[in-house]
């Protein structure tokens, strides 16, 4: 008995291969997907019913953890629905779903953890399953290369976290977040050193410049639902960890300024690099880096408003980027290319996919009245509120630059059809379109009625800042 939700998910993770074996017997591999979806849906239901805060063994579940868990599970559901069709040509589908659930367990555990080591264990769980998922299509060279780089960098980062953790343990004699934050009130040189190690680790995972180099490879090489998960939530787990660890452990040192500076670098790199990118998934992966920059900017304000913005942006970005990757997945599924030069005019043939992609891209570039606008606006406001106008202006400049490459995608999609193979392309299967349309509706809904989300994120931000204030 670890925690009810994690137990539940573990149960599903373990039973999936068995079910999968059965399914393969009856040649209905998609039943696995349905099973997983049901499992995730039950878990989501459980999380939504939770009364915070809850303390179970090594977990303390507060509003913030709940918020993150909802994000993970929600996107996980869409990804698993999407995978049902998407992976029909692949083998080892039960394994895929197991790994998917394990990855979600890892993330949920990491956000539920009340002490550093529990956090680390689940973190590694998430990492290992994501390495495997990236390399899921092992018969191609690209996922293998990406996965290997991802593995090496991420493991080095994890090792750094562990090293930093050991230093903190050496100072405090405990690993519980609350205990550490009680003990570490005065900064000393070791805290700084420890923070450097920890931030290296977290930075690799959350793709802060210049540690982002693995991200475009891994996110573009992974199967599209996994790209959606990686970009949508896995990276954000890193952001969450920065918040959590930063505000509880390193509250005594001035890490916010560091994050502010890094966020600017990160968003500029994330937006300038993909300007001429032709690989659609790689482009989206870069844009994830940029959005990490926005979130970090929100965090770096250190205020309720900024954190609310950052948390909202985590949620919104999960929806938006998830949708974008799923759309690219549909196109990849139908067209079997990721090169934008080979999908000129595909929008004519796949109107629903294109429309949803439009919605997600406009949301990503911060156009109102879609949800990306609300969270970016909050972050900008927060940064201006704490007299970091340059940060707000940087975000706005970046949103303009980013519009350029999002528009390149749209431009490619709206071109007249010239290529032969595109003329034959049809709209994706309905089971793939369900997640797309529902995510698109969520984007619009959370754009027009952001209140519920905002309230939730605000209370989560309170939760986070309680220790500091």
């Amino acid at each position: 008995m670890i925690a009810p939700i994690i137990d539940l998910l573990l149960f599903f993770a373990i039973t999936t291969p068995i079910l999968g074996w059965l399914c393969e017997k009856i040649k209905r591999p998609y039943l696995c997907g349905i099973y997983t979806t049901i499992g995730l849906a039950i878990a989501l239901w459980q999380v939504l019913l939770m009364k915070f805060p809850i303390k179970i063994s090594q977990f303390s579940i507060d509003q913030l953890s709940g918020f993150m868990a909802i994000t993970f599970l929600m996107l996980g559901i869409f990804a698993s629905i999407f995978s049902m069709k998407y992976l029909e040509r692949d083998t080892g589908i039960p394994l895929f779903y197991t790994l998917l659930i394990l990855m979600i367990i890892g993330m949920i555990g990491a956000v539920f953890a009340s002490d550093f080591f529990t956090f680390f264990v689940f973190w590694e769980m998430m990492c290992i399953s994501s390495y495997t998922l990236v390399a899921f299509r092992k018969e191609k060279w690209e996922p293998i290369e990406a996965s290997f780089k991802y593995l090496i960098m991420s493991s080095a980062g994890s090792a750094s976290i562990l090293f930093g953790m050991s230093l903190i343990y050496g100072m405090c004699g405990t690993l519980s977040f609350t205990e550490i934050s009680r003990i570490l009130t005065e900064p000393n040189i070791w805290v700084y050193i420890a923070s450097i190690f920890v931030f290296i680790g977290l930075g690799v995972k959350s793709a802060i410049f210049p540690l982002h180099t693995w991200l475009p490879d891994a996110h573009s090489a992974a199967p599209s639902p996994i790209s959606a998960m990686l970009s949508g939530v896995v990276v954000e787990t890193g952001v969450y960890a920065i918040c959590r660890i930063g505000f509880s452990i390193f509250s005594c040192i001035k890490w916010l300024e560091v994050i502010a500076i890094l966020s600017i670098f990160t968003m500029f790199i994330g937006n300038l690099t993909p300007l001429l990118q032709t690989d659609i998934k790689r482009l989206l992966a870069y844009s994830t880096i940029a959005h990490i920059g926005y979130m970090l900017a929100g965090i770096s304000t250190g205020t309720i408003l900024g954190l609310t913005g950052a948390l909202m942006h985590i949620f919104n970005h999960a929806i938006m980027k998830g949708l974008a990757f799923l759309c690219s997945g549909v196109i990849l599924y139908q067209l079997e290319t990721r090169d934008m030069r080979e999908m000129l005019g595909v929008g004519r043939r796949m109107p629903i996919t294109t429309t949803t992609l439009f919605i997600s891209l406009f949301a990503l570039s911060g156009m109102p009245p879609l949800n990306g606008f609300i969270s970016e606006l909050t972050i900008i406001l927060a940064s201006i509120e704490v007299n970091m106008i340059w940060l707000g202006i940087c975000i706005i400049i970046n949103s303009i630059i980013s519009a350029a490459y999002y528009l390149r995608i749209l431009k490619a999609f709206l071109q007249p059809i010239t290529l032969e193979n595109i003329k034959k392309v049809k709209e994706g299967p309905i089971i793939m379109l369900i997640p797309l349309v529902s995510l698109a509706i969520l984007i619009i809904v959370f754009g027009i009625w952001p209140d519920g989300l905002m309230n939730y994120a605000k209370s989560a931000a309170y939760e986070l800042l309680r220790g500091v204030m």
């Binding site: 004519r348 909050t378 201006i384 707000g392 350029a404 528009l407």
Partner: protein
């Protein structure tokens, strides 16, 4: 008769119809009539409100909660003497262009898409309705965030329109258009956020509280520059000839309206609420307006492409309104708004004429055109009428706007230098006559080239709505009181 939630209806009805029309794809180009009917309905609602305002039944105000969690943003609509005429005329232009686009888009879609026609009508007309929502929304907003939302709401549809239905090199130009306008909007956003930090509210009326704050000047600066980018003043104007030159002509008027909308926003936000800060920008704004007027004029004269010419003239014409507003006198501002409204009426007609010529002959280059007046007399008449509006010939509305505005300009010009500036400005209007009437001669007069022998007059669905617009302009021209009496009290109340 009381209409329930009149202003909300004006916004919501087109949106709902836009969504519904996705399912009415079978109607094909007849969707245009639905769009027209919808916009006529909203126009009628606004006319009713306008009559109420005329009779002194106070400004209409409606308020809905949007977001209360963090910012307490209210979704408010205010129809007072200033915003209502602006919204109404913009809506009418949208309605007229909806009718106009039926034939035009048939031609254009045929040309571009051939067999997959029906879907494109749905795309066009459902997106089209969002223009009206965006434009009217900006005019009626009481809230800065809401205003920004509506501003961007006009941008996305126009981007898609240009990209889907534009002319040569349309993809690049659509992108260019989007980015330039996005830059403008982003500047506006910075201004908004600064204002929010200063006042703690997004309400337009709360901007007042900024006065005395250090932020105020920056708020003013960013909002102003943002809208100046959108209004294509000299230096920022480079996107406009392209965007205007290459987009489908049926939305040209709307884009001209988007360009001019900045005048309204500047009056509403900066003149109205931040007068004492806005004063600082008066002189630079005057100078840049005059530079833009003259440069835009010469640029227009230099064009040989019909659509591009009218595009360049928008640069110059919008600067007139800026000039009027920059004088900071009641007369100047009233005249500026009046001129803006009459300009968009006239520009709508002129662009549509260019569209008709393009649609019927397939030629845009004025060097290859000529003598069309014999083949298409109604179009030629419209072109002359539109030119009359622009070059301020009575009895159309351009004249009334222009002289009222120039009274303001001369009033502002206290010193001798000021007088010179005002004179330069008024003589710059002379260029208008050159760049509006010369094209008339080049396109419609002179001998008819032999390859144009078979040109036919455009169908009535194209010309009639334009005549309707000219009729509005005529009404405003012979009875300017109808507009001035509505605007003046609001502007007067704004001016300290």
């Amino acid at each position: 008769m009381m209409i329930p939630y009149p202003l909300l209806q004006v916004i919501l009805v087109p949106i709902i119809v836009a969504f519904l029309s996705i399912f009415l794809g079978n109607l094909g180009k007849r969707l245009g009539w639905i769009a027209f009917a919808t916009l006529t309905y909203t126009s009628l609602i606004m006319i009713k409100i306008g009559i109420d305002l005329w009779n002194g039944i106070g400004p209409y105000y409606e308020e809905y909660y949007w977001s209360t969690a963090l910012f307490n943003i209210k979704f408010g609509f205010l129809a007072d003497g200033l915003s209502l005429p602006v919204a109404l005329i913009m809506n009418m232009i949208c309605a007229a262009c909806a009718l106009y686009s039926i034939h035009y888009m048939e031609h254009r879609i045929e040309q571009l898409y051939g067999e997959e026609r029906k879907g494109m009508y749905v795309v066009y007309f459902s997106i089209y309705l969002l223009f009206a929502v965006g434009l009217v929304g900006v005019a009626l907003s009481t809230n800065l965030a809401q205003m920004y939302v509506f501003t961007e709401l006009t941008l996305i549809p126009s981007y898609i329109m240009i990209d889907l239905f534009g002319y040569v090199d349309r993809h690049r130009i659509a992108m260019m258009y989007f980015i330039w306008n996005h830059i403008g909007a982003a500047m506006f956003l910075i201004g908004i956020t600064l204002a929010y930090i200063g006042t703690g509210s997004f309400e337009v009326f709360a901007l007042r509280n900024l006065i005395g704050n250090n932020f105020a000047i920056w708020v003013c600066f960013f909002i102003l520059v943002g809208w100046l980018v959108k209004m294509a003043v000299f230096g920022f104007h480079v996107w406009l000839p392209w965007a205007h030159g290459e987009h489908p002509t049926s939305i040209a008027a709307i884009i001209a309206t988007i360009v001019g909308l900045g005048n309204y926003v500047i009056v509403r936000l900066l003149y109205g609420e931040l007068f004492s800060v806005f004063k600082i920008f008066s002189i630079p704004l005057l100078i840049i307006a005059i530079i833009t007027m003259i440069y835009g004029g010469f640029l227009s004269i230099a064009q040989d492409d019909m659509k591009r010419l009218y595009a360049c003239s928008t640069i110059s014409q919008t600067a007139y309104s800026i000039l009027g507003i920059a004088t900071l006198t009641v007369m100047g501002v009233v005249g500026g708004i009046f001129y803006f409204l009459s300009h968009i009426l006239g520009k709508c007609v002129l662009f549509s004429v260019a569209g008709i010529v393009l649609c019927q002959t397939g030629i845009r280059d004025m060097r290859k055109l000529g003598g069309l007046a014999r083949k298409m007399p109604l179009t030629a008449t419209l072109c002359i009428l539109g030119s009359m509006v622009l070059s301020a010939f009575p009895p159309l509305s351009g004249f009334q706007g222009e002289w009222i505005m120039f009274v303001g300009v001369f009033k502002e010009a206290g010193s001798f230098m000021g007088l010179i500036v005002a004179l330069v400005a008024i003589f710059a209007t002379f260029l208008t006559v050159i760049y509006t009437f010369w094209p008339v001669i080049r396109v419609f007069f002179g001998p008819l080239p032999s390859e144009l022998e078979n040109v036919k007059e455009a169908p009535l669905t194209m010309t009639l709505p334009l005549f309707m617009l000219m009729f509005i302009s005529f009404i405003l021209g012979i009875y300017p009181e109808s507009l001035v009496a509505l605007i003046t009290p609001v502007i007067k109340a704004m001016t300290p």
